[in-house]
Subunit: 393 residues, 2 copies
Amino acid sequence: MDLHALTPIEEISRRIAAIRSLMMERSVDALLLTGNANIFYTLGRVVSGWVYIPREGEPLYFVRRPENVRGDNVCHIHKPELIPGELARRGYPLPAGIGLELGGATYLAIERLKAVFPDAAIADASAIMRSARAVKTDFELHLLRRSGIKHAMVYSRIPHLYRTGMSDIELQIEIERVSRLEGCLGQFRIAGDSMELFMANVLAGNNADNPTPYDFAMGGAGLDPSIPVGADGSVIKPGDAVMVDANGNFTGYMTDMTRVFSLGQLAGEAVRAHQCSIDICRELEKVGVPGAKASDLYDTAMRIVKEAGLERHFMGYTQKAGFIGHGVGIEINELPVIAPRSRDVLKEHNVIALEPKFVVPGVGAVGIENTYVVTAGGLERITCAPEQIINLE
Amino acid sequence: MDLHALTPIEEISRRIAAIRSLMMERSVDALLLTGNANIFYTLGRVVSGWVYIPREGEPLYFVRRPENVRGDNVCHIHKPELIPGELARRGYPLPAGIGLELGGATYLAIERLKAVFPDAAIADASAIMRSARAVKTDFELHLLRRSGIKHAMVYSRIPHLYRTGMSDIELQIEIERVSRLEGCLGQFRIAGDSMELFMANVLAGNNADNPTPYDFAMGGAGLDPSIPVGADGSVIKPGDAVMVDANGNFTGYMTDMTRVFSLGQLAGEAVRAHQCSIDICRELEKVGVPGAKASDLYDTAMRIVKEAGLERHFMGYTQKAGFIGHGVGIEINELPVIAPRSRDVLKEHNVIALEPKFVVPGVGAVGIENTYVVTAGGLERITCAPEQIINLE
């Protein structure tokens, strides 16, 4: 299998160039990447191995598995201890400083790589890669837009999936199936080890107010203490809000989208909060231009919430989330972070999800989430399902 | 929510005692655990936080989220730097040596915890926890047996899910749905960062011979270069073997089971290889007693394979896996490892999956996988679906 059959070499070169300009800024001689997300980014496919990016010269792909990957800069090795010898053989100098995935790989994995380059100063490649990946190329934007289109097609089917008497998890399972048939890859990549979610978070009624261990915007008790998040098996009742936040990974790049359904008419407070969420998105779509501070977006949202007198319900009731948005791409929690103390500044072609949500006791969770491309003209929405609450009855 | 409503305190105490005996052996004063699998093991539910296990005295549960967890030894904190002060306040000495999850947590996470205990010697808690968790308690065996029963119920439905003209992924999606309706939690926990699989590996025909980057026993090209494993969208053809290895996590504890289906009659070589896999399992069920060496199990399997003249096909054709079995539990890749150079020795109440599989070009993958409890009388099978190839026609 030839590597560049999957992602054009020009595209890979563009990404490597972006990474290198950050390496220059931080005076890092070389990166050695090992995580699946970063390997996918720099190679166009996942392999098991190590991607070596020097400041000058071609990147080298050290591949452990699979054994049938071919390409000019591919070198098959079974352990990282062989890398310095291979570098020397190809005329690459040993790096004086090397960036490793300190925020992604395990302590033992990093200690092993440090021993491979005993004289090199160690830098954090995770931070460099997070910054590089935050600004998407046109190729990546194309994949994200394709995910958004398929994601919206799945949501358009949801009203047809509901049957009287269904529980939250029964509805979720039918959404999962339709989503998979539409091409959803299932895999839900999250940076860091601690967050877990399977395919979707479907929150009906009061379950939305059950707090979780995970740093998601919304909660839910889940079905089992081994994964306490999301649907808890409750039958959907008249007057319940049903919030659907389902996996949008159709292309290796994920869009993030939330919509709300209802069984019958929702209480007025919930309807008002849902409209407030839409209003916040409309306003942030205007102010979300390159150069805007992420913290200013948060403050703008909070001002609208306070004007509506809905602060008590915003981003949770019993337990609150501390952000209203986040970058998305290969992973669901990329940069920038839209939070009150975020120092991130929006850049052109960041892709962000905004999710100003509310929890109304007795009703459930309301509000929308969209994925946007940051453009000079403001935020371009790429998750275009209808935003109003749709009655399942 | 009271913590011990979920898992009886006696059960937690039993697990802590097992961990402590390993801490004694390795002269570790205390453990500080952070990964979801180890938190679930020592607490009975997943929280975000840090579990502190001293050699003497009660374990302490430092919880960041959710905020509503209550219990005698629960202390709500938002960052690990507060742990030494809380220990002092409760009369716990600072540990001279502390075990951290060096093989599970990221380098930056471990460096942060090392700075919290600047004078302590650092040991590897990951290795201790892997050893402790490899021997299951009766409570855990009960959960594993329950997973096995539900897992077999799902497999009994598979012949009814096939429709003429289906692709591998279409069949997989229907298996996923039935599995979820049966109570499968979906989450597929894998120790380490590098392996990824969504819900199931369904391999039809020649796709079984496509090698993957991941250290699974079998491969498959997958649907996208971002997750190159498993079903590739091929329509199932007459003469194809269809191997199904689907998620068995129904209780937080996973059973692992593989069965083979066919479209019409398979070529004789494949039928013979499938029977060889069953024969290997029957033989290993007898010799898999406490005290048996894992490498001897591997050698026994290899002897049977060689006698049958099937070595070329064993554990892959284009790319081979280097093991025939592995421990299972909260994670899919626990101890012991059944491989030629494994130093593991079977212990009573280890739970292992054995998967002697074959790839026959032109037909696909054949062979079975079962999950077993190691008992004095040999291996007790807990995945009891029929083992013969079932014709889908």
